[in-house]
């Protein structure tokens, strides 16, 4: 039986999709700014963040409104509560894109310490995970969510590679490189944290679809 409530849930779905698209765009632009050493693009990422913050509040309010008016149960309840969590994770992801953009601004007027190899790879993993996690939420696809959660180890591996290289190959040998190495280290750290937040989204989607808690129980993935 079609319900009016379904239309409202569909609207919520669309808003979270929009939030996801904005967060993805922020990551993409922050990494492009790094690759192109583009201070203007970094500024754009930073200034766009308030739109994401505003949308986060709108989605939160909408979720609370739906709970208050419809008193949802079962799958509806899991969808709305997961929507609230996904919303918060996406806002944090967008904040991390801002953090990357701020590091890019520090690096913009300095020569690159080394060619960027693993950070772009890490960025590709992060963007792919965010895209797939949003798809998993929108399509209620637990299998896709599992794939996302399992990708996190690749992000950890790449972050460790960047960290080892910058620490051992550059800063340990020449401490003067620290002012250019540390922002890169932090960017790798921010990208890895984006993957962690995306893993949280994936775990929440599994709960939403299967009513099964896998958070803090990676062996159950």
């Amino acid at each position: 039986m079609e319900r009016y409530f379904d239309e409202e849930l569909q609207d919520l779905n669309k808003q979270i999709l929009k939030m996801g698209a904005m967060a993805q765009e922020a990551i993409f632009k922050s990494v492009e700014a790094l690759k192109n050493r583009d201070n203007a693009q970094a500024r754009e990422v930073i200034s766009s963040d308030n739109k994401i913050d505003e949308l986060e509040l709108v989605i939160d309010e909408r979720c609370i409104d739906l709970i208050a008016r419809h008193q949802p149960m079962a799958g509806d309840l899991r969808f709305i509560t997961t929507g609230m969590k996904v919303n918060a994770e996406l806002e944090r992801i967008a904040d991390l894109a801002v953090d990357i953009a701020q590091r890019v601004q520090i690096l913009a007027d300095k020569p690159l310490l080394k060619p960027l190899i693993d950070i772009p790879k890490l960025s590709t993993v992060a963007q792919g995970m965010v895209r797939d996690a949003i798809d998993a939420f929108i399509n209620k696809d637990a299998a896709m969510a599992r794939k996302v959660a399992l990708s996190d180890s690749e992000a950890d591996r790449l972050r460790n590679l960047v960290q080892d290289e910058l620490t051992n190959e550059y800063m340990a040998r020449d401490p003067k490189t620290a002012d250019r190495a540390v922002p890169l280290l932090l960017i790798a750290r921010h990208l890895e944290r984006i993957c962690d937040h995306t893993t949280n989204i994936a775990e929440d989607v599994i709960y939403m679809v299967e009513a099964k808690v896998v958070k803090h129980h990676p062996e159950q993935l």
Partner: protein
């Protein structure tokens, strides 16, 4: 610990198969909600527990219902003792057209061999205290019970069961005629009573079932589709039919 054990329960109203192979356990000192659409058999099941269906012509039951070790569907079951032990509260409160006092002592007068006035006064006081009406009504005991508000009447009906020492309370839509505040107070009373009584409530109000009960059973077309902890039934039901019903998709 199970207070009521239902095994392979079937019930027919003439040719109509109203309960189909129902199996479940009702925990002692728990509130169990039975939910389901109209005509699903939930009130019929409730009435099995004090054999009120026996009053309907053409009713036939099969299977077992065990309460505290007694098979209540046996032909030789003591129905007077059963109905004293298993009391019922109805949708519309039904006090007798007597005083508040006489409503409460009515059961004792019927059941007891010899009635002592002191004893009756103690029963009235204890029963009204149990339903949190004593302070309101202690000076109005001679007034007609019909002058009470709907909520007070419903509390009085519960007090009447407490007076005859029922230890299972069956409640068939006990709040459906009450406003939200009165409903909240009856629900609070149910929580208070839980420590001493086993309560089974039939309700169409899903939020009420979710709020007050420990366990929930969902019935559909005479079958018990799902029975489990209320938290589980309302957040992660196992059966799609339960999910469809509690999310309003059934129909």
């Amino acid at each position: 610990m199970a207070k009521i054990t239902v095994k392979g329960l079937n019930l027919w109203y003439a040719d109509f198969h109203a309960l189909k192979d129902v199996n479940c356990l009702f925990g002692q000192n728990k509130i169990t909600a039975i939910i389901g659409p109209s005509g699903c058999g939930k009130s019929t099941m409730l009435r099995v527990f004090n054999r009120m269906n026996d009053l309907i012509e053409g009713v036939r039951t099969e299977g077992g219902v065990n309460i505290d070790g007694e098979e209540i569907l046996d032909n030789n079951a003591d129905l007077v003792a059963l109905r004293k032990k298993v009391g019922m509260v109805f949708q519309r409160p039904n006090p007798f057209p007597l005083s508040i006092y006489e409503n409460i002592v009515f059961g004792e007068r019927v059941h007891a061999q010899k009635v002592k006035k002191d004893n009756l006064e103690r029963i009235v006081q204890e029963s009204l205290k149990a339903v949190l009406l004593w302070d309101e009504l202690k000076d109005k005991l001679k007034k007609s019970a019909l002058t009470l508000s709907l909520e007070q009447k419903q509390r009085l009906c519960i007090a009447r069961l407490i007076a005859v020492k029922s230890d299972i309370l069956l409640m068939d839509e006990p709040c459906s005629t009450l406003d939200p505040q009165a409903t909240a107070r009856i629900e609070e009373l149910m929580r208070e009573l839980k420590s001493k009584y086993t309560i089974i409530i039939v309700t169409h109000n899903m939020q009420q079932a979710a709020r007050v009960s420990d366990d929930t059973g969902f019935m559909l077309l005479g079958e018990l589709i799902e029975f489990g902890r209320t938290d589980d039934v309302f957040t992660r039901p196992k059966d799609k039919r339960t999910e469809d019903y509690i999310t309003g998709r059934y129909g």
